[in-house]
Every structure is written in C-alpha cells, then in structure tokens.
C-alpha cells in the first residue's frame, strides 16, 4: 500500500470496512481470469482498444532529432484514457454487487467516461462536480446527463475539483454499502492508486506489443503529462523496472512556478502531506492548507498527485518537468498543423516537452508520448485563445437565434 513513505489509507473510520471490502475484492478480481476476459472484451468492443501507436513523422522531421511516436488514447470512446479505469472499476463494483457509482470530476472527462460506462453496465451514476466547473464545462455536463447520470453541484469550498472529491467522499460515507466511489486518478486511499494503475496499465501493455510489431526493442524515452497521474502511471507501467527506458512526467507549469499559478507538485513546489486519503505531495501552504491551482488544461488543474509517481521521482526513476500555458498553446498549434491530430491540452504539455527533448537527441533514439486525450473537448478554451473574434461572434449568434 505504500510506495516508500507515500500512499497509505488515511480515511475516516466510517469508510474502513468499505475500503477493506474493496481491497479484498480488487486483489481477488485482478487475478480472476473471467473478470479480466470480460474487461478486455469490453475494452475492445466498447472502448475501441487497442488505440494506435502513431509515428509523428512530420514533427520528427521538422525537429530533426529523435523519432517521436504518439500513443493515441484520445481515440478511445469518450475521447480519453479515463475510460480504461472507469470501465474496470465499474465492472468490479458490479461484481461486488454495488448498485450505484459515484465519481468526482473537474473538467468533466472522468465524469463523462464514468457516466458512459454506467449506462453500458446498467449502474446508477451520480457525478460530483463543483458549481464553478458545472458552469464552465456545460458540454461535458450535457453529455453526462445524456448518459443518464445525475450531477451533484458542489457548492462548498472553492466549488471545483478538490471540493467535488471531498463531497463524493462524504456522500460515500453514507452510502458505501451499495455504492462504489470511482476515483478517476491513481490517488486517494489504497487500493485506489493500485487499482487505477492496474486498469490503466493496458496503455503500457499495448505500447510494448505495438513496439514489437514496429521492430523497436523498447522506448528510449516515455513522456506523459501528469495531473493526478493516471495516464502516466498506466503508460509507464510496463517499463518501470527497466531503467534503460527514461520516464518523464510533465506537469502543468501554468503561468510559471514563480507566479504560484500552476499545478506542478513535483517539478514545482509541492510538499509532502496527507490529504483526501493518501500521503503524497501537494500544493499547500506552511500550515497544510491546500492551495488553489492553475492550468490552461482543466485536467491537470489539481493540487495532489499519485503517490507512486512521487516515490518513483524520489528514487530518481521518473524525472519531472513542467510546461507553461503559453508554450502549450504554441505546441498545440504546431502539432495540429503538422500531424492532423488534435491533442488534448493536457497531453500537449507532454508533447511540448518531447519536442524540446527530441531536438537534443540522436536520430536513432525514440520518444513515445502518451496523447491521453483528444482536444476537441477544449474548443471553448482554444478557440477563445486562437480565434477569439469568430468564436465569440459564433456564440453570440447561437444565443441570439435561440435565446
């Protein structure tokens, strides 16, 4: 349950029995052949796996260094890697006999993935989302509602992701007997970090197999963006024990570390704490109060990070860097124009660093970047930044013609 000193199970007594039940069931089903077959079959037919491993030939040539590959998680159903975990946990919850799934969501991707899976598996679904996020992320809220999910507007605290987590935990303390709390990142009390990694490790497994069919022995570098870190830990999973593969996590540099408007826990100024059930690094003040964070990408905009990543950084297995909002937007432009792929802003952080790295490496090296999601979801951010007049005029027209 611990990675070095990180991880653990820091929960109220009222949740102890549910967490114990979950632990026991997770470790049992993780070994269960039938469960794994059912999971894999749904990954194939419902999620659309395997997602491609794609050679970004144009970027490689323009940069003129290492070969750059993308793992295109954004082609999964609901547009991101999140569904790997949502599907796995929901299936597990169904096996245990739970009737209802609750989940927190910030930007909405985890909520959308979870709502989709619940529709598929005939589970009730309630999503906790900060009031501020609900207002900002209406397209995702709409999709969740279409999937039949009930949205709880969280009006406590800062009314964003961390408060949605708190509220989901509180709700869980009341209903854990028939309800599974489906955490969306590799964090929270054990067994969540282990469980989320388990379900996201499909990404790394596919990479390994796909590299084999490209006749590449192994990656030289693997790069993933890190908010909570579920895409990163799943993507890295197969290679953590192979030290010849360099692993790099890219955090949200926001407006720069010195500005304190960022979400970089490891490469920035996070410190060790125990929050929301787990011990890890958090952006917090000297008293231990959690700070508000900033990132252009809603999916990275969170004060905590998965405990295993912190540990793997501490033992120097994963290196962490960060990329700033403005660099990310530049990279977004560059990638869409040259590859015909729209990366999520989250994933664009990883690409942004990969491009810098590639230019300093020999052509016989290869870099694999996890494109954790597709960027169409970000249009209300990117269009506003890159095409403001047309976009605002379009929205005005929509309002005028239908208001």
């Amino acid at each position: 349950e611990y990675y070095g000193v990180y991880g653990g199970t820091y929960i109220p007594e009222v949740l102890k029995s549910s967490i114990d039940e979950l632990k026991e069931n997770f470790y049992r089903y993780a070994e269960d052949k039938k469960f794994n077959e059912e999971y894999k079959n749904l990954l194939k037919t419902f999620v659309g796996r395997p997602t491609p491993l794609y050679y970004a030939e144009n970027l490689t040539k323009k940069i003129g260094g290492a070969k750059i590959f993308f793992k295109l998680e954004g082609l999964a159903n609901t547009g991101a890697h999140k569904i790997n975990n949502s599907l796995g946990q929901a299936l597990l919850a169904k096996k245990i006999g739970k009737k209802r799934i609750i989940a927190e969501t910030g930007a909405g991707q985890h909520g959308v993935a979870t709502a989709a899976v619940c529709a598929k598996l005939n589970l009730e679904c309630e999503i906790f989302m900060g009031e501020v996020d609900i207002k900002r992320q209406r397209p995702n809220v709409f999709i969740m509602e279409q999937f039949g999910a009930k949205i709880h507007s969280v009006t406590n605290g800062t009314k964003t992701l961390k408060d949605a987590v708190n509220e989901a935990l509180r709700y869980w303390t009341k209903r854990s007997f028939d309800t599974h709390y489906l955490i969306g990142s590799a964090l929270g009390p054990a067994p969540y970090p282990q469980m989320v990694k388990f379900f996201q490790s499909i990404i790394g497994k596919e990479v390994k197999e796909q590299l084999r069919s490209e006749n590449i022995n192994k990656p030289d570098y693997m790069i993933a963006c890190v908010g909570g870190g579920s895409n990163a830990i799943g993507f890295f999973s197969e290679y953590i024990n192979d030290e010849s593969v360099k692993l790099i996590g890219v955090e949200a540099g926001g407006k720069g570390i010195e500005s304190n408007e960022h979400a970089s826990k490891i490469s920035g100024n996070g410190t060790v704490g125990i929050v929301q059930g787990y011990k890890s690094k958090f952006l917090q003040n000297n008293d231990g109060q959690i700070l508000s964070t900033h990132s252009i990408s809603a999916g990275l905009d969170y004060a905590g990070i998965g405990p295993e990543l912190v540990y793997l950084n501490e033992i120097k297995r994963i290196n962490f860097v960060n990329e700033k909002d403005d660099e990310v937007i530049k990279t977004f432009n560059f990638v869409t124009k040259n590859e015909g792929i729209v990366p999520a802003l989250e994933s664009t952080h990883a690409i942004s660093y990969a491009l810098k790295l590639a230019s300093n490496l020999n052509k016989n090296k290869n870099i694999i970047v996890n494109i954790s999601g597709i960027g169409n979801k970000d249009i209300f951010i990117t269009a506003k930044l890159l095409d403001k007049t047309n976009w605002i005029n379009f929205l005005k027209r929509e309002v005028e013609e239908n208001g």
């Binding site: 820091y10 406590n156 509180r170 009341k174 854990s176 929050v275 059930g277 008293d287 231990g288």
Partner: protein, 250 residues
C-alpha cells in the same frame, strides 16, 4: 445511573478569535465537560457544510495553526484541560506530529481527535500520545464491526467517539431501536467511556440516548448557533445558556 457529561464543539477562529474566546468560556461556564476545538483545514472530508464553511471563513480570515495554539495557550489552565483538539491529518503532519502532540501536552490539553488517522495508519500519533500523555480519541462508526471494535478498544487511550450513524457531521440522527441495541453492544466491549455524537441537538434525543453513553457530543448544533449569532455582542450569554440547557437534560 452515573453522571453523564456534555462535550461541545467550536471552530477556532470562527467567526474570529475574540469571539472564539467568548464562546469557549461560555461553554466552560455553562458546564461542558469537554470542548472540541477544531483547527480549521481546507479540505475537511468528515465534516458537513456547517463546519466546512466555518473552517473556510476562519482560514480566509487569516487564522493559522500557530494563532490557534497561541490562543489556546492564552486560556486558563482549568479550561485548557477540557480541550480536545480536532483537526485533520495534514495539519498535524505539516506541523510535525510529535511536536504537535508535545505542544498539546505542554498546554495540558485533554486530547486530540484526528478523523482521518486510523490507528493502522496514524503516523505514530498514538505512540506520541502515550509518550506525551495526551488522550488520543478514536472513532467508532456504525460500519465498524465487532472485531474491529475490540481492536480499537485496545488501541485508544482516551474515551471513544461513537458516531451514531453513517455520513458526516451536522445531519440529524434518528435513534431507533436498532441503533440503541448497537450502542449497548459497544458498551459491552469498550472499557473506556464513550462519547456519542453526530447530529444531536434536541432534548428528545438526549433523553433517549443518555443511558447508553457517558458523554453526549453536541457539535454542529453549536456551530449553527454561533453562525446565527456571529454578529451578536451577547454571544457569550447565548452559548452559555444553550450549554446549561443541554447539561440540564443529562
């Protein structure tokens, strides 16, 4: 039947430290046996909206851990001995758990209650509490099975805080026969006194439960009254009268 006691609750620095002083003295003067002083934390997962909002207000008003402890050290020793510090793991972890417990010890406080530190994962809290003679209040919830209650019984060195239902602070609890039977079973196992809490605010409730517990906890109810009277100059009187009233039901 033994004498029963009242434990009250307040958030340190809410609505401000001056009023906190009025409130804590009122509770003391009103006859509370124990007073939970909650050091605010930004993400209190075991608390309902009343305590969370009070915590948020206090933090926004620049309350810090140091200010809380300085405030407590300014109180009379007799009052301090009634105090149980309630806060979350991160606050004491950041401070240094041993330092924190030793500080409470120096201040001669009664105890500490950290809802998100179970004995199995308590970062040494119970050891430090034993070392520095501070009562470590453990929680027993409605989900806690009998085996685990026996285990907790061995781990705690103060009274036990029994939450009378699932969920979080501040919501009304209904005491039905099943709950009362459950309380009896707990009393059979737990040697130390128990404090029964979560959603208690009425005479009816108190009369119904007092035979099953040693201490009755009234928490969010006080936060609500404080909230309603936060701009009232006579907050001391209001709180003292409410405390006296509740004590008289016991």
């Amino acid at each position: 039947m033994d004498k029963k006691f009242l434990m009250t609750h307040l958030v340190c620095g809410y609505p401000n430290l001056k009023k906190t002083k009025d409130i804590i003295e009122a509770m003391n003067d009103g006859g509370a046996k124990y007073i939970e002083v909650q050091i605010p934390f930004s993400d209190p997962i075991a608390d309902g909206p009343l305590i969370e909002d009070a915590s948020k207000d206090a933090i926004n008003n620049q309350i810090t851990v140091k200010k809380c402890l300085d405030f407590i050290s300014s109180l009379d020793e007799k009052l301090r001995k009634k105090i149980i510090i309630v806060t979350y793991a991160n606050i004491i972890f950041k401070y240094g758990i041993e330092n924190f417990v030793s500080k409470l010890s120096k201040l001669k406080l009664y105890g500490i209650l950290i809802p998100d530190l179970l004995p199995e994962y308590d970062e040494g809290l119970s050891n430090f509490c034993n070392k520095y003679k501070i009562h470590n209040i453990l929680i027993i919830s409605k989900n806690t099975n009998l085996n685990r209650i026996k285990y907790l019984n061995k781990k705690g060195n103060g009274f036990f805080y029994v939450t009378a239902r699932n969920g979080i602070t501040g919501e009304k609890t209904i005491f039905n026969l099943e709950t009362l039977n459950w309380l009896k079973k707990i009393k059979d196992i737990i040697i130390k006194p128990i404090a029964l809490g979560f959603g208690i605010n009425s005479k009816d409730q108190i009369l119904k439960i007092k035979e099953f517990t040693d201490i009755v906890v009234v928490g969010s109810h006080f936060i609500k009254i404080i909230n309603e009277n936060k701009n009232c100059k006579k907050i001391y009187e209001v709180i003292r009268k409410e405390t006296e009233k509740l004590v008289n039901f016991l």
